[in-house]
Every structure is written in structure tokens, then in C-alpha cells.
Amino acid sequence: VSDLARVEVEERDDVVIARVEGELDLSSSPSAGEAIEAALPSSAHGLIVDFSALEFLDSSGVSMLFRLARRVTDHRQQLHVVAPDGDAVGRVLEIVKFERAAPVHATVDDALRTLRAALD
């Protein structure tokens, strides 16, 4: 999708899981965000953005994530983010207090479980 980051999208029933690899900075974030939005049908109930394999995240990536959260909310969908504790990416999310916009989980399974529980 871009020079630095790559997005892989997987649909599990009504949940879309977007796995982002590489580095998200000013050069790669906008296109990564567009790719995720394009992969999200309005019929889906939830979106999980998986940063497990992401090596780098800066404020532009965070901004992209905030825009995603707004859009998902507008469509009455739910956004969950996966980022391992303690690594650089998780630290950035922590610093910008992203959890105010959407829940952050350590694993995809955690995110899925939480999402299903909320949907049920």
C-alpha cells in the first residue's frame, strides 16, 4: 500500500481485522488509513486494528487511528486496537491516551472476545 507500511485485512463474520506491519509515519499513515477504511464495509459491526507486528508509530499514525475511531463511531461500529504492552508502539498509544477513543488490547483474541461480548 505504501513504502513503509503494509495492511492485511481479514474478515471474521461481521468483524474486520486489519493487521498493519512496518512503520507508520507521515509517509505511510495516510495511505494505511485509507486502506483500512476501504476494507471496512458499513455492514460490519466491529474493526480490530492489529499493531502487533508494527515496528514504529508516531503522531501521524496516531492521528490516523483517531480519524478511524471517529468514522467507526459515526457508523455505530466499534473500534478495538491491539498493541503489545511495553513496546514502543504501545508506549506511544499510552502517551497520547488513545484508550479514551478506543480500547487497546494486548492480543487479537482479547480484542475479539471483548468485541463479541459487547455485541451480544
Partner: protein, 847 residues
């Protein structure tokens, strides 16, 4: 009829003598029979007559065996017999007259001296006879004895000599006439031409064999008939008669009068003939002799000769045309062989001069800005700058303004601008405008010194030449324009300055080939990629000119796209090959060397698609070619296997990429060029800029390279105390800065988390700098790093305008910086913004 000597042959002489003897005997007998004087003693005379007859019989019978001397003896005996007869007859005065017979015979048949001898013998006999008979007067006796036979003999011999001469001449004439007639007859009979003789009425008197053949009419059929009925067609007969009457009446001689007539053969076929008629007059009789010649063969030959002349004329014309065409071909060849205008003209003009047999030739081109003509090329060498002429002035100016060819003899000296024309003593000059798109683009003119004077044909020739020149002119201009476009395009495709990347210094050189060669397909590129990796490309597209340049453009953008997707080098090259194979023209082919440098790892990986191997130099001049990972060029196979290979590139190690223009020399094997390159690299300075200059100085001839030369050298720069980069203000720079910073921080004994956090904070500062620059900045930003004991100082400076911090994206960046660093200071100014950050390091050991 026999010859004259035969008339007097011995047989005739002998028979004449026999007759003489018999006649003498007869006279004697007659004297005795007739009444005679009594003095005559008869018996002895009978005896003498019998003796004479007997001798005559002997001579007659032995005629074939007698010699001249026998006849002389016989005649002398005859004379003696007459003397005895006279003695016995008595003193008769008249009787001795009979001696005249002997003398007559002698003079008739014998040569004069011998005849005179016989006369002397007769005289002696008569003298003795007179002595014996003793006539009355001794004087009378002497006169009679000598005078009578002498006078009679002389007179008679004279008469006979005349007769003899006359008859001899007549015989000769008769013989000559006969021979002449025979000869003439033979000539006429065997003559190739028909020969006829006509009488005044037109009747045939002679008709030779050729006439028989010509008309198919035998001589015996023709003789005595009217020629008009025999050989003239009905409508030609009146004319024939008229002509004959005219020739008959014409005063003066008629000889060989030539008349063209139509004649007809017995079989009815007609043919043209020529008659040569002569009028022959013999006394009152007049004849016409005519030679007739059948002209149909001659007419046929005339036709053949005329056809031959026509064919020769046609061949001459064809040869002239061929010569002209080959001359034209020469001009067209010259025009097409050279691609630049000056090169073309330099080649063309001497040929124009040679083809036209001229002494000087020049091309003047229209200077559209000045509105005049400039001598662009001349057989007189390099034209002077001042050799200009305004439209309408001078010879060339008039040709240009009229837009029509001109031919001038003996022009005034100031009419010719080009000194070459004045020096050649030109007295005849032709000029033709060079027309393209209806506009006068220039003038071509040629001049000749006396005695050569141009004709209208030369003008036509030059006009044809001018058409070709104008075409070539357009072609050359088009080519020059295309050359410029290709050069510009290629220049634009090559990076005008290389990005400064962390851990890497690079330098590149591109030398276009020497003048008149086309722009080649050499190209190189430096591509910053994720995680600080750098792609370095050196390629060579087969072909030249605009096509090659546009091909480079497509390959370059495709390779950049694949490289930025962060594919492995072998995958990138494989995709390029597929692109070339499937999407571009089949004939396209390119060599490519793709090297990926990882400054963090301190290593290179490369793929070589048919290109010359990169050269690595490490340490103190240890040089070797990276021979591995060599595959086929791009575009030759649909599914080739490209392998990649890797090698450690120590700090300070350098790698040189190049195209064949650097190492190929005419006449030298490429191994020699590669050895020279290795040697030059070994002795080169460490700095890559200096290294490039050194290589070009050592390897490229002073006159310029025959082919394009592209050269790219990079160095794994040693990490030092200071960190200093200036990067273009583009989002793509961020990854490079982070990679460089990571590498630098690793040197500084930082922990992984510290490295990540400092990098993130610095990235935020850089993002701000990029966004400032996007609002009207200089297009670049600087990052500096300093190790200060246990602390790291980072400074990010841009040259754009500060944007006030607002909540949202930018504010989030600032809060990240503040959260991740111990100290952050932002100093906006009119010139730009400087962000200073500080972080205390616990070090890798602290974890």
C-alpha cells in the same frame, strides 16, 4: 590467231622457200617452152629446174626439222642456181631481174643484216655473170650488176618493213580489243550489279548474270525486248520512256546519271533500285548502259543503322540519367549518413561540387532572427562570421528573395559573398533555394571557373540536389532537436544531487558521449528505503536517443515503486524483467545492477542482470569485483532466475558501480578495461567525490568517451561522535533519519527502548519540520546529534514558517516529544524553527 612471231615461224619460211624454188623452176621451164632466142642452152636449164623442184620438195618435207641456217644455205644455193640459169640463158638484159625474188624473200623473212648478206651474195653472182658474159659498156655492167638488185631490194625491203609493222600493230590492237572485251564481258557478267545495255528505243542489247538473278529473267528472254515491259511496273513505264528520251536529247555527255526507280521482278515483287545510266555514242549509233542496284538490302541496312543510332542515343541518354542518378544517390547518401547538420554539410558540399563539376559550393542558411543569410558551410573551408548577406542582395540573396533557382554568367565581383567563390575565379554560378514547408530555409549555390559554364540542365540537377538537402536539413534539425530532448530527458531522469543518507556518502558522474553520438541509455539512481536501507541502481538500456531515454524513465519509476515496497532485490529485478518482457516492446533489453545497502547492518545485497560487476574496495586498497549473483539481462527471457548475494561492507568500505562506457575502449578487450579500473580504484582517494574524479581522469580519454559513461560510488560512512544530516523536506526522509539515528545511537551504547523513544521523538520533530517546509520553506531540514557524556542532544532545524501549536495532530507530536525526552525546547523564528531535545541515557548496560 597466233602470235606475230609465229607468223614467221620456220615452217612458214620453209614452205615459202619451197614455193619460191618451184616458182623459179616454173619460170625456167616456161622460158624453154615459149619461143626464145637460140642462145639458150636448153638441156642444162631443164636440169636446173629439176634440181630446184627437188630442193623444194626436200625443204617442204623437212620443214619441221629445218633451222634458220639451213634456210640461209638453201637460199644461197637458190641464188647460185639462178646464176647458172642466167649463164645458160645467155646475155639477156632483163633476165637477172629474177634475182629480185631472192632478195625479196631475204628481206621479208630474215633480219636485216642477214638479208643484206644475201643481197651481197646475189651481187657477187651477178658480177661474176657479167664478167663472163662481158656486156658492151663496163659502166652499164657495173650499174646493172650492183644497182638493180640493190635499189630494188632496198625499196622492197622498206615497203615490206612498213607492211610488217602495220600488220603487227593491227594484230596487237585486235588482240587487246579482244582481251578488253573479254575482260569487260567477264566483269559485267560477274558484276554484283545488274548491267543492261539499251538501244535508243529502249530495247535490251545486253543482260548480265546479275540482271538474271535480280529479275528472274534469262538473258535470252530479255534480249531484244523493251526494258520497260520487262522490269518496270505499269505505272512507271511512261516515266521511263520520258527519261530515256530526255537523256537521248540532252546535249553533252551523259555519264553515271543516278536515278531512283521502283522495279518489279518476274514474280511480281517490287523493290527500290538505283540506276546509273551512261550514254555511249559510237559514230551515229547511240546506246545506253545502265547499272542497276537493288536498294532493298541497303534500305534495310539503313533502317538497321538508324535503329542502332537510336539505340546508342537511348543508351547515352540512359547513361547520362544513370550518372545523374548515381550522383544524386551520392548526395542523398551523404545527407543521410550524417546526423548533425554541420557534419552532413561538410560531407555533402564536396560531393555536390564533384557531381556537378564545379569549383566551389556553399550552403547559406536563413537566420530567422536577423532575417538574412549566413554562409553555414563552404568548400573554401570554415566560413567567416562576416559572410552574411541580406535577402535580395548579392547572388544568394536574390535566389532567396525570389525563391527560385537562378543561373548567372560573369557576375560582378561583389555579387559573391563567399570568399571561396571569389578565390576560385567563379564566372558561372547557379543557386537554388532550400525550401521546406514553403519557406526559404537557405540557399545552395555552386560556381565554376572558365571554361565551365553551367547550363539549364545543371540548374535542374542542383534543384534536385537542393530538394534532398532541404530534406536532410529538416532531418538534421529534427535530429538535433530530438537529441536535445533526449539529453534533457535523460538528465532529468538522473538525480541532480544525491540524497544525503545516514551512514552513506555517495557520488555520481554522468558523461555524455563525445559530440555527434546519440544520447545513450545509461542511468543510475539512489533510492532511500525503509529502515534506512538505500537502493543503488546502475543500468544500461540497449539503444540510443529518445527511445532509450523514455525507456530509462519507465524502468526508473517501476524500479522505484518496487524498491519502496521493500521487496527483496531479486524480487524487484524479477518484476522489472516481467514488466520489460510483457509490457514493453519485445526488442527492448537492458542490463541492470541493483544493490541494496543496509547501513545499520553494514552490508550490501545485490542482483546483477547482465551488467558489469560492481567493484568493492575496503581497507587500504584491497580491491575486488563482486562477481556473484550474475544473471541474464532484462528482457531476454520470460522467466529467468535472478539470484541475490550479500557481503559485509565494513565501515569505510566503498563500492563502485559503472557502465561499460568507462571500461570499453575500441580495439581493447574488456578485461583490460576492468584491470585498468581496478588499478585506478586502488590508487584513488578515499572520498567518493574525489574517487569519481580520479576514475574519470584516469580512464576517460581527453577527447571524450565514445559511449556514455555513468559512474556511482558510495561509502559505508564510519559513525562518529557527531550526527549531521540534511534531508529533503519530504515524508519519505523520515524513515532514513530514523534508521541513521538508530545506527548512531547503537554506537552510543543506548538501550533498545532508549533508541526507540529518542527516535520517535526525533521523528516528531522532523515531521513538524517537514510540515513547516511544506508551508513555504526551503525544502530541507537538518538533524544534528551530539553525545554529551551520558546525555544525547538532538537538534532539528527547519527553514520554514512556524505554525502555532494547536490541539490535534501537531499538538500530539509535541506532547510525544515532551513525554519521551527529558527536555524539549522549540524556538520559532522568521527563518525557521529549531527544536532542541535532550535525553539522559542509562545505557544498554542499565537494562
Amino acid at each position: 590467231v597466233n602470235d606475230l612471231p609465229e607468223l614467221f615461224d620456220l615452217r612458214l619460211k620453209a614452205r615459202s622457200m619451197a614455193f619460191l624454188f618451184v616458182a623459179g623452176a616454173g619460170v625456167g621451164c616456161l622460158t624453154l617452152v615459149l619461143p626464145h632466142s637460140s642462145d639458150v642452152n636448153e638441156p642444162p636449164i631443164w636440169g636446173l629446174a629439176a634440181l630446184a623442184v627437188a630442193l623444194a620438195a626436200i625443204v617442204h618435207r623437212q620443214a619441221d626439222r629445218l633451222s634458220e641456217w639451213h634456210l640461209h644455205l638453201m637460199l644461197a644455193i637458190g641464188t647460185l642456181i639462178l646464176t647458172f640459169a642466167n649463164y645458160w640463158v645467155g646475155t639477156t638484159v632483163f633476165y637477172p631481174v629474177i634475182y629480185t625474188w631472192v632478195v625479196l624473200y631475204a628481206f621479208y623473212f630474215f633480219e636485216l643484216p642477214l638479208a643484206l648478206a644475201h643481197l651481197g651474195w646475189v651481187g657477187a653472182n651477178y658480177f661474176v655473170l657479167l664478167l663472163i658474159q662481158q656486156p658492151a659498156s663496163p659502166v652499164v655492167r657495173w650499174v646493172l650488176a650492183i644497182g638493180t638488185p640493190a635499189v630494188a631490194g632496198l625499196l622492197i625491203s622498206r615497203l615490206l618493213a612498213n607492211l610488217r609493222q602495220g600488220s603487227q600493230r593491227a594484230l596487237e590492237q585486235a588482240r587487246e580489243l579482244r582481251e578488253s572485251e573479254a575482260r569487260t564481258g567477264r566483269i559485267l557478267e560477274t558484276a554484283h550489279d545488274a548491267f543492261v545495255i539499251l538501244d535508243p528505243h529502249g530495247r535490251v542489247h545486253a543482260w548480265n548474270a546479275a540482271a538474271e538473278d535480280m529479275f528472274g529473267i534469262r538473258a535470252r528472254e530479255a534480249l531484244g525486248r523493251l526494258l520497260a515491259d520487262l522490269v518496270f511496273p505499269a505505272e512507271g513505264r511512261d516515266a521511263h520512256h520520258e527519261r530515256r528520251r530526255e537523256l537521248l536529247a540532252r546535249p553533252g555527255p551523259v555519264s553515271g546519271e543516278r536515278i531512283d526507280v521502283q522495279l518489279v521482278r518476274r514474280d511480281g515483287t517490287r523493290f527500290p533500285a538505283e540506276a546509273a545510266v551512261s550514254r555511249i555514242e559510237e559514230g551515229d549509233s547511240v546506246l545506253f548502259a545502265a547499272f542497276l542496284r537493288d536498294l532493298s538490302a541497303e534500305r534495310h541496312r539503313d533502317d538497321e543503322r538508324a535503329a542502332l543510332y537510336r539505340e546508342q542515343a537511348a543508351r547515352r541518354e540512359a547513361e547520362q540519367v544513370a550518372e545523374m542518378v548515381s550522383g544524386m544517390q551520392l548526395l542523398v547518401d551523404a545527407a543521410l549518413a550524417h546526423t548533425t547538420l554541420d557534419g552532413m554539410l561538410g560531407e555533402l558540399l564536396p560531393r555536390v561540387r564533384a557531381v556537378m563539376g564545379a569549383d566551389a559550393a556553399a550552403v547559406l542558411l536563413t537566420d530567422e532572427e536577423e532575417g538574412d543569410l549566413v554562409v553555414r558551410a563552404s568548400t573554401g573551408g570554415r566560413p567567416e562570421e562576416s559572410a552574411r548577406v541580406a535577402f535580395g542582395q548579392g547572388f544568394a540573396g536574390r535566389v532567396a528573395s525570389a525563391g527560385r533557382p537562378q543561373l548567372v554568367h560573369d557576375p560582378p565581383p561583389n555579387d559573391l559573398v563567399d570568399p571561396a567563390f571569389r578565390e576560385a575565379g567563379v564566372a558561372s554560378v547557379v543557386g537554388v533555394p532550400l525550401l521546406a514547408d514553403g519557406e526559404v530555409k537557405g540557399v545552395i549555390k555552386v560556381g565554376a571557373a572558365p571554361p565551365r559554364r553551367f547550363s539549364e540542365e545543371d540548374l535542374a540537377m542542383l534543384r534536385l540536389a537542393a530538394d534532398r538537402v532541404a530534406l536532410a536539413l529538416d532531418h538534421a534539425r529534427l535530429y538535433e532537436r530530438e537529441h536535445r530532448i533526449a539529453e534533457t530527458l535523460q538528465r532529468s531522469l538522473l538525480p541532480d544531487h544525491l540524497p544525503q543518507l545516514p551512514g552513506l556518502t555517495a557520488a555520481a558522474r554522468y558523461l555524455p558521449a563525445a559530440a555527434e553520438a546519440e544520447v545513450g541509455g545509461d542511468w543510475f539512481d539512489v533510492i532511500p528505503m525503509a529502515a534506512g536501507r538505500v537502493g543503488l541502481v546502475m543500468g544500461d538500456v540497449a539503444g540510443k536517443g529518445l527511445t532509450a531515454a523514455s525507456m530509462v524513465g519507465r524502468l526508473r519509476s517501476a524500479l522505484r515503486a518496487y524498491a519502496l515496497e521493500d521487496h527483496a532485490p531479486a524480487v524487484v529485478v524479477d518484476r522489472l524483467n516481467r514488466l520489460l518482457w510483457t509490457e514493453l516492446e519485445e526488442s527492448e533489453m537492458a542490463t541492470l545492477l541493483y544493490v541494496v545497502f543496509d547501513p545499520v547492518e553494514g552490508s550490501v545485497r545485490w542482483v546483477n542482470a547482465g551488467h558489469l560487476p560492481p567493484l568493492m574496495v575496503v581497507g587500504d586498497g584491497l580491491v575486488h569485483f563482486l562477481e556473484g549473483a550474475r544473471g541474464v539481462p532484462l528482457g531476454v527471457m520470460p522467466f529467468p532466475t535472478f539470484e541475490e548475494e550479500g557481503i559485509e561492507l565494513a565501515q569505510g568500505g566503498r563500492i563502485v558501480l559503472y557502465t561499460d562506457g568507462l571500461v570499453e575502449r575500441p580495439g581493447a578487450v574488456i578485461d583490460a578495461g576492468l584491470s585498468a579500473l581496478a588499478e585506478a580504484v586502488r590508487s584513488a582517494p578515499e572520498d567518493v567525490e574525489e574517487l569519481c574524479d580520479h576514475l574519470l581522469g584516469e580512464l576517460v580519454p581527453a577527447a571524450g568517451a565514445g559511449d556514455d559513461v555513468a559512474l556511482l560510488a558510495f561509502c559505508n560512512e564510519p559513525v562518529g561522535e557527531h550526527f549531521d544530516v540534511e534531508m529533503p523536506a519530504a515524508p519519505e526522509s523520515l524513515a532514513s533519519v530514523r534508521a541513521m539515528l538508530r545506527r548512531w545511537l547503537q554506537q552510543a551504547d543506548s538501550s533498545e527502548q532508549e533508541i526507540a523513544e529518542i527516535t520517535t521523538a526525533c521523528g516528531e520533530a522532523c515531521t513538524n519540520a517537514i510540515e513547516h517546509a511544506g508551508a513555504g520553506g526551503s525544502g530541507s531540514f537538518e538533524v544534528e546529534g551530539r553525545l554529551d557524556g551520558a546525555a544525547v542532544d538532538i537538534l532539528v532545524r527547519d527553514f520554514g514558517s512556524w505554525r502555532p501549536v494547536r490541539e490535534g495532530d501537531q499538538g500530539r507530536g509535541l506532547s510525544l516529544m515532551r513525554a519521551l525526552m527529558d527536555d524539549v525546547a522549540v524556538s520559532p523564528s522568521a527563518e525557521g524553527t529549531t527544536v532542541r531535545m535532550r535525553r539522559l541515557l542509562n545505557g544498554a548496560s542499565a537494562e
